[in-house]
């Protein structure tokens, strides 16, 4: 099976995000970049499949700025077979079309995306890529395997359990979480990844239509400050419980 994982480089999730002086972007100076967490789960799911079936190839693909090459290097170090970058800035439908053009050149059986990138939290590009490819998609996937008699069985997390779906042909999955945490690159993995070529193309060379109406971020602000809460302590727990229940009823009016 040929699996292609589309990934995005985003600010590492432990980074303290600060709104920039233009009030519509974030401060990126000195930021640590990483593979978006759900995309890492997608890589892990693909690599688990490869562990079980060595005939599997796992490729990584990104469309983004040149620095996103580091994210691909990380994906290779985790164990992906090859990686490619399309350099350019795209978002939304334009990004989905660019990814679709790059996917079509590779004819994978399965495309994995994280369920949403941890920067814009939109959860759009995976579905839009499936639409651009004319493929079905299954969202919030936690596992998949080759089905007996052909096709792929897919576990989709929903309220109260999992739906199992079967795809008879190419399908796109957006990954929720894998059972295992994403693996760390091994030392030999890192050494091997260093030697691998990461072919690069310019977004403008793909000949993809970037026009069309888009959602545009016009302002950003930090979430409303919280704090200065009432701290109850140094009393008998029974008295604290009475006091809290009273405040929740009379002040906060949530009981």
């Amino acid at each position: 099976m040929n699996i292609l994982v589309c990934l995005k480089q985003v600010p590492d999730s432990t980074v303290r995000v600060k709104v920039a002086p233009d009030a519509k972007s974030i401060v990126t100076d000195g930021i640590t970049w990483a593979i978006s967490p759900y995309d890492e789960y997608a890589i892990e799911l693909a690599l688990e499949h490869k562990d079980a079936d060595p005939g599997t190839t796992v490729s990584a693909l990104t469309v983004g700025p040149a620095r996103a090459r580091d994210a691909l290097r990380q994906a290779l170090a985790m164990g992906c077979d090859d990686a490619a970058i399309v350099v350019g800035e795209a978002a939304g439908l334009g990004l989905a079309r660019a990814l679709a053009a790059a996917v079509r050149e590779r004819t994978p059986d399965l495309v994995l995306c994280g369920r949403q990138a941890s920067d814009d939290d939109q959860g759009f590009v995976g579905m839009a890529l499936a639409e651009a490819l004319g493929w079905p998609h299954v969202a919030s996937v936690t596992a998949f395997k080759a089905a007996d008699g052909g096709g792929i069985e897919i576990w989709k997390e929903i309220e109260g359990g999992h739906e199992v779906w079967k795809a008879s042909g190419p399908v796109l999955l957006t990954v929720q979480k894998s059972a295992k945490e994403p693996r760390y690159p091994s030392l030999p993995g890192i050494m091997k990844a260093k030697k691998k070529e990461i072919p690069e193309r310019a977004l403008s060379d793909l000949g993809v239509d970037q026009a069309g109406p888009v959602a545009e971020v016009v302002a950003m602000q930090p979430p409303p400050a919280r704090g200065n809460g009432v701290i109850l302590k140094d009393a008998d727990t029974g008295a604290l419980a009475t006091e809290l229940a009273r405040r929740l009823r009379d002040e906060a009016k949530v009981l």
Binding site: M127, A139, E157, V164, K166, A167, A215, E216, V217, I231
Partner: protein, 291 residues
């Protein structure tokens, strides 16, 4: 303005978020409410069925439930329209201005979308006026999607016990590592029961396998904004805080007075939770009984 609301049902009743959206759409102008009929309809099939009705609408609103977000994104792509997910405020105009969170809740963004557009809207974002007329919901049948078929449902071993889904809950009681082990979750459940609350968990807890992944709140889990969020024994890692600081009222219970959760809470209790929580449960039961 003409708005199409895509409603969802649970246990035969329209979901609260669908009613919230129908009420909001009425404020904005004309409204049509539809629902996809049939069991286990794939998102692609639902989006295909919705496309015709959506083409005549300036705005499509879908509840940002697990299924709703999935369908809304695919529909926006199919129509080639701008899309924003998990919206919490809508400012009408020739182009919409909406508010949504980014960077796992660390940033609040204002997003401008030229019409026509598609939005998924977070449950609890808009009030449901008392006595709001129940909307007429028109059924829409979906054709099966080529290449994809439903096989079976596998129930989670520790499934929600009939509780409300986390993302839609008005009250959430969440437990962290301070509970020391899955065997102590009865404390969380008892408090959740008297409050009619959903149960949440920190990542440490779901990673340890004490609770199912679907209960995880925060980055790589659910983002929630209930009226009341009670955090029991959760220290408050930045990834967890990002997922719940838009809650209206936050209560933190922790033995450690330096826990970061105390910095974002409205009410904090520094106490041993094993001693305190049963007493709080009893107190709230009394208050609920009118005492």
């Amino acid at each position: 303005m003409k708005t199409l609301v895509v409603a969802e049902r649970k246990d035969g009743q329209p979901r609260r978020v669908s009613l919230e959206l129908a009420a909001k759409a009425r404020e904005l102008g004309d409204v049509e409410v539809v629902e996809i009929t049939g069991e286990r309809v794939s998102a692609g099939a639902a989006a295909a069925a919705l496309a015709t009705a959506a083409r005549g609408a300036d705005l499509v609103l879908v509840g940002a439930t697990a299924a709703g977000r999935d369908v809304a994104a695919r529909l926006a792509a199919k129509l080639g329209r701008p899309y924003a997910s998990e919206v919490t405020e809508i400012e009408p105009g020739d182009a919409l201005q909406v508010t949504r969170s980014m960077y796992a809740g660390k940033v609040r963004a204002t997003v401008r979308l030229p019409l026509p557009a598609v939005l998924s809207v977070r449950p609890n974002a808009f009030p449901l006026p008392d006595g709001a007329a129940a909307p007429q919901i028109a059924p829409l049948a979906a054709a099966p999607e080529e290449g994809l078929s439903f096989v079976r449902f596998e129930e989670a071993k520790s499934a929600g016990d009939g509780r409300i889904p986390l993302a839609e809950a008005r009250v959430i009681v969440a437990g962290g590592r301070g509970l020391r082990g899955p065997e102590n979750w009865k404390l969380v459940e008892d408090l959740a029961d008297v409050l009619g609350a959903a149960i949440g968990a920190s990542r440490a807890v779901t990673d340890a396998g004490w609770r199912p992944n679907e209960e995880q709140v925060g980055q790589t889990g659910k983002t929630v904004s209930p009226d009341l969020y009670i955090a029991l024994g959760i220290s408050g890692a930045i990834q967890h805080l990002a997922g719940m600081t838009s809650s209206k009222v936050i209560v933190a219970v922790n033995k450690d007075p330096d826990a970061d959760m105390f910095k974002v809470c409205d009410y904090g209790v520094v106490a041993d939770l094993f001693d305190f929580v049963p007493k709080l449960t009893a107190e709230i039961r009394k208050v609920k009984a009118g005492g």
